[in-house]
Symmetry: C2
Subunit: 146 residues, 2 copies
Amino acid sequence: MKSETLKLENQICFKIYTAEREITKLYRELLKELNVTYPQYLVLLLLWEKHSLSVKELGQRLFLDSGTLTPMLKRMELNGLVERKRSEQDERSVIVSVTEKGEALKEKAECIPDQLVDNIPMGKDELTILNKTLTSMLEQLQDHSK
Amino acid sequence: MKSETLKLENQICFKIYTAEREITKLYRELLKELNVTYPQYLVLLLLWEKHSLSVKELGQRLFLDSGTLTPMLKRMELNGLVERKRSEQDERSVIVSVTEKGEALKEKAECIPDQLVDNIPMGKDELTILNKTLTSMLEQLQDHSK
DNA sequence: AGTTATTTAGTTGTACACAATTTAATTTTA
DNA sequence: TAAAATTAAATTGTGTACAACTAAATAACT
């Protein structure tokens, strides 16, 4: 009885591991035209909303640390999508803001959520339940990782 | 109405992306003693069951290609966990088999599923639903990625 | 004020993950 | 059977992820 639960947990972890890569693969196609990766797209989603955020704030929202963000933001800067400059109030902070070129991608990206839905056709009820389950799962995982 | 679904899909993708990293982080702790990563642990799970599998078979089961597997298996070989040798029937294939040292890890790994469950305490019903939902989601994603 | 502790990015090193290409072996087919 | 197509790994190059560490700035404390 317990062992079934064990196997189920194991399977779920593997499926999340696999699903993440399949989702990234799907985004890779959808984002190819924009020449950005999925994590870069996530950064842009935030900057399209707020225009400017510190590396720390980006990290808090995306659950990524500077070891991941710094080189990624440098690549985005190199591609002209964002600007990075030290905060004047607090020289420890680096403020990342979206450039005109980065802003221009917003329109091109408008169709992405629609295409996403086309590729993962699921009922709204099912989506709602999945969302809720993942949320509580994440809370537990993140609680523990502190 | 549609736009809610769009946002939901987006959120779910982000949550799967995040959950995958949290799960990997959890496994990293649990596997530290064994000195293997989560993907390496997945390889070992298969080899504990079958003893020998070709790179192709491993790839089919884990949905990984040789670009990922070859260097990973070489690291595992370097650590003495597996052996790699060309198949005699078909010189294109490389057969990966678990060594004694790799086999010995099986006992140490016995407690991992239990510890996993301790860290993600979810009801069995919820787990069952989550498993089913992820399965159908994966099928659709993998159907499309061909 | 001066010292200590904390915070914020950046750096270094390791390990996936995958697209694209290459190489060698095996099948298929003309 | 010889040429063409396919298959299986390996290789190359790019981009995350993250642990561990460093450097600089700010905050907290005595």
